[in-house]
């Protein structure tokens, strides 16, 4: 863990409860404990391939596949998942998805019960920050991990701010860990 945690957007200064800052490998270890995983893919996911060289839909699919999770993809990026057939896929806006996640009585997209971990990746920074804020305040038992390149203080766990190369390599290492475990 790093000694100093900084948010990505300069003014995104939060309160006493901040995300634990994890390395990608530690995120992988944390994720291994999940029995009911939801991967939430945001609307900026496709741009990240161009800007940072990370194929977020591919990362999300590998992650969900390795842990038997469900993917909920923001409608703007859903088309990119068309070739993914071996993972449960939901097409839903982030606000709609988070509105369900924050409901403790919600039984998940498959009706089998609540998700014990929600992974966020590929969102517009400020939008994702607000969705994580909703969950932090109104669903304090819902654990969240942000796997985006930038630190998200409102998540339960978050990667630190990383360079594109370190992000790409870190995600790869995390996925290899999870896939090896599988």
């Amino acid at each position: 863990m790093s000694a100093k945690i900084t948010s990505y957007e300069t003014a995104e200064i939060r309160g006493p409860k901040l995300a634990f800052n994890l390395t990608p490998e530690n995120c992988g270890r944390m994720l291994m404990r999940s029995k009911r995983l939801l991967v939430v893919v945001g609307g900026d996911a496709l741009k990240m391939k161009v800007a940072d060289g990370v194929d977020v839909p591919e990362v999300a699919a590998r992650l969900a596949r390795s842990l038997g999770g469900t993917i909920v993809a923001s409608p703007g990026v859903f088309k990119a998942f068309q070739s993914v057939s071996d993972v449960k896929l939901i097409n839903m806006g982030l606000e709609d998805a988070v509105n369900r996640l924050k409901d403790e009585s919600w039984k998940g997209f498959d009706g089998m019960g609540a998700y014990d971990m929600a992974v966020f990746i590929g969102g517009l920074y400020y939008f994702q920050s607000m969705m994580l804020s909703t969950l932090k305040h109104f669903a304090p038992n819902q654990k969240t991990i942000s796997l985006d390149r930038f630190y998200h203080p409102n998540a339960t766990f978050s990667l630190e701010n990383l360079t594109p190369d370190k992000w790409k390599a870190g995600l790869d290492a995390m996925l290899q860990l999870l896939e090896a475990k599988k």
């Binding site: 990505y8 703007g76 109104f138």
Partner: protein, 777 residues
């Protein structure tokens, strides 16, 4: 108008009276009575519509995204409200967010109410209280919001004063509810926020019908003139007067003065933001520089000789920015005094002299005086303009040599543009990335503040884009104001029956996640699909700043009627009253529902029958949230672009919760399933794809006829397939009977319905109001 009767002494066979003073608030002239019966809620107080609010909030509960973990409103604080904690006063995060929601809407409503006050007072002073309200020969329902909410039918400017008094009273009461120790329930906060939104909408109408009536702005004609818009449209060879804000009074007086002196053609009068729209409605020779996103950019160019600021959306640094490039400033509103010396009581000669010598920024709270002063000072100042003033482009770009690629600018950009990369590319003589940033930049200048090397980043973006700025020259169809009753008669039935798939209004500010092109592409798509597209304010300006693949702007491509496949520019922010008024008029003119003080019934009608949706893709200001919330109370759903998430609150439905979608069937009083239509009242979307599909979904209403639902479903399914590549997951929720299925899609849809266990349902005569049930079985 108050009338006072004094009787010093009266001694008659009927009575003896001494020293009687009788004051009558308003005299109703014989024969002026309005025969429409008064509904249950004329001039509703802050709890009169609480029952309606609770109904809609039960279906669409508030969804909060706190922007901060603290409450900082009183000296007990800061209080940490994280994850269920209560503050020292007992408030929790949910109620605190409700308070923010109310505060935001009250700020917006107060802005528009003040604006309405200013313009009405100015017009009464100029034209008299008896000047008639006349918004066009084909507009009999001249003030649908005033009729609906206030329960009066205004005939002259003076009649609007009592509406303003009501607005003052209600805004004060709502503001009071936000104080510590007052309101405490999130739902009651939201009920009050909805009330504030309704007041906001009412104020919009007061302001706009007053100025349409008295200033001769267009009265609903579809084919208004086209005027120039764009930073490149301004003729720098002339003296340039720039008006920024929302109140047209000072700018119109500039035009009056110039016309009186016969010098209008030799002076450029232009505006930014909504004042610009209203200037072009006043005179087709005025120009629009652009939306609010162009304010700082254009002021920094130093092209303006005189900057007139009035009220709302005026940058807090604009006086300093203008002064730094030698532009003289006249503040004109008691809402924005800007720390300037008040020269209102000086003569025009004295003010002009002061402006040109030792006091280059002044406050003058008299529109007529501003008109004369601005015109004379601009003509005198223009020859000394330093506009090629300031640094040359190359000098500005040379600043990029100091860039260390720390990316502080990127991390401070509200829309996450990678400015750091672009500035660093410019350092290596590659200007292309900066030019791309220029297209998407919202012009806030936060990057300037962030740069540790003091690079003037926004100016650098401009300097790299000089050629693009020169090319930024388009035309816009002038705001037409009201929707004519004749148009409502033509489209009322097809809208209510669903045969016109819906009314989509593109409104709000220019705080877009990726430039104005996204907005224009959405408007183009819906106009092509024969929705009625309406626009206003900065969104209307931004639609003009886009050309399609054939080089046409949307205003050239589509007619300006309120009809299928058209794009209607109603005008400025306050002209948002007209699309909102249009849905009310459909209930009145087409469905013959009484409007007078009858808010609940009309809102119930709109929510269940009229497929109207607003898209505020670049919502930024509190006013945008207030307008949206007012539309929500009337039953009109609104979609915000991603920046709208920072308004902190949405109103979301849950499509799978069947109990929430039960309606009363007015035919027999039975509670029946009406479907999730509309699914949300206020929704924030991340992408344009999500927005377009959501809009096509939100126009569906329980009352749609089979033919209408078929048309709406056809668009929804088609857009879903086009943008997401699949059949909608929820199509079974919107098919009520097989006759709803689009004929050409039956082969695709029927197997899906079978797979999902779909069963047909009755199409109800839907209402949420028990009193609207016609007959009970």
């Amino acid at each position: 108008m108050a009338t006072k009767i004094s009787i010093k002494e009266l001694d008659s066979q009927f009575a003896k009276i001494r020293g009687l003073d009788l004051v009558i608030g308003k005299v109703v002239e014989a024969g002026e009575e309005w025969s429409e019966p008064v509904g249950p809620t004329p001039y509703p107080d802050i709890t009169a519509l609480r029952g309606w609010d609770q109904r809609i909030l039960a279906r669409y509960p508030p969804f909060y995204s706190p922007l901060s973990d603290f409450c900082e409103f009183c000296t007990y604080g800061k209080c940490d409200l994280t994850a269920g904690k209560q503050g020292a006063c007992g408030i929790d995060m949910e109620a605190h967010q409700g308070k923010w929601s109310l505060l935001t809407c009250v700020m917006g409503a107060a802005c528009h109410a003040t604006h309405a006050h200013h313009i009405v007072e100015y017009l009464i002073k100029k034209y008299g209280e008896d000047h008639p309200i006349d918004v066009g020969s084909e507009v009999d329902v001249e003030a649908p919001l005033i009729r609906l909410i206030a329960g009066i039918k205004p005939k002259k400017l003076g009649d609007l004063k009592e509406v303003l008094t009501y607005l003052d009273n209600q805004v004060t009461q709502l503001t009071s509810a936000t104080a510590t120790g007052q309101e405490q329930s999130p739902i009651d906060y939201e009920s009050k926020a909805l009330h504030a939104g309704m007041l906001d909408n009412l104020a919009l109408e007061v302001a706009d019908i007053a100025q349409v009536s008295a200033l001769g702005l267009p009265k609903g004609n579809s084919d208004t003139p086209r005027v120039e818009i764009g930073m490149g449209a301004i003729d720098k060879s002339k003296p340039v007067i720039l008006c920024v804000g929302h109140n047209v009074a000072p700018g119109s007086e500039v035009i009056n003065y110039l016309e009186d002196k016969g010098t209008y053609g030799s002076v450029e009068v232009a505006g930014i933001c909504c004042t610009a729209h209203d200037l072009t409605r006043y005179s087709k020779n005025a120009k629009i520089v652009g939306p609010i996103s162009r304010q700082l950019m254009f002021v920094r160019s130093g092209i303006a000789d005189i900057l007139i600021i009035d009220q709302e959306c005026v940058r807090a640094d604009v006086v300093d920015e203008a002064r730094s490039v030698g532009t003289r400033v006249i503040a004109t509103s008691d809402q924005v005094c800007a720390g300037l010396p008040d020269l209102t009581n000086k003569t025009p000669d004295e003010i002009v002299k002061a402006l040109l010598t030792d006091t280059p920024a002044v406050l003058v709270r008299n529109p007529a005086k501003v008109g004369e002063v601005a015109a004379r000072a601009a003509i005198e100042a223009a020859p000394q303009r330093k506009s090629e003033k300031g640094l040359k482009d190359e000098q500005v770009l040379a600043n990029t040599s100091r860039c260390t690629l720390c990316r502080e600018c990127t991390e401070n950009c509200p829309i996450n543009l990678d400015i750091g990369y672009a500035v660093n590319a410019a350092k290596k003589s590659n200007l292309e990335p900066l030019q791309k940033i220029f297209q998407e930049c919202i012009g806030c200048g936060r990057c300037d503040e962030a740069c540790p090397q003091s690079i003037p980043v926004l100016s650098t973006i401009n300097a790299a884009s000089t050629a693009k700025i020169k090319e930024e020259k388009f035309t816009i169809r002038v705001g037409r104001g009201p929707i004519r009753d004749t148009e409502i008669r033509n489209v009322g039935r097809p809208i209510v029956m669903g045969e016109i798939p819906g009314v989509i209004a593109f409104v709000g500010c220019s705080n877009y996640p990726g430039g104005n092109e996204d907005l224009a592409k959405m408007a183009d798509e819906f106009a092509k699909r024969r929705y009625i597209v309406v626009t206003s304010g900065c969104a209307a300006s931004d639609l003009a700043r886009y050309r399609d693949e054939n080089g046409q702007t949307l205003y050239e491509k589509y007619p300006g009627d309120f009809d299928a496949g058209c794009i209607v520019n109603t005008g400025s922010c306050v002209s948002n009253a007209h699309p909102i008024g249009a849905v009310i008029k459909i209930a009145s003119i087409f469905a013959k529902r009484n409007l007078r003080g009858n808010f609940e019934e009309i809102s119930d009608y709109i929510l269940n029958r009229i497929g109207a949706v607003a898209i505020a893709w670049g919502s930024q200001h509190q006013k945008a949230m207030a307008i949206a919330t007012g539309a929500n109370r009337l039953g009109v759903p609104v979609i915000l672009g991603p920046q709208g998430v920072k308004h902190r609150r949405a109103y979301l439905g849950r499509s799978e919760d069947n109990e929430k979608w039960m309606v009363l069937n007015a035919r027999d009083g039975k509670k029946v399933y009406g479907g999730p239509a509309p699914e949300h009242l206020l929704y924030v979307a991340e992408t344009i794809e999500e927005t377009m599909v959501m809009a096509a979904r939100l126009v569906m209403r329980p009352n749609d006829t089979p033919k209408g639902r078929m048309i709406k479903l056809s668009n929804y399914i088609n857009l879903h397939k086009q943008l997401y590549g699949t059949m909608p997951d929820d199509v079974q929720r919107f098919v009520r009977a097989e006759t709803d299925i689009p004929v050409t899609m039956k082969d695709d849809v029927i197997p899906v319905l079978k797979e999902r266990g779909w069963k047909p349902i009755e199409i109800p005569d839907p209402t949420l109001l028990d009193r609207m049930v016609l007959r009970r079985e």
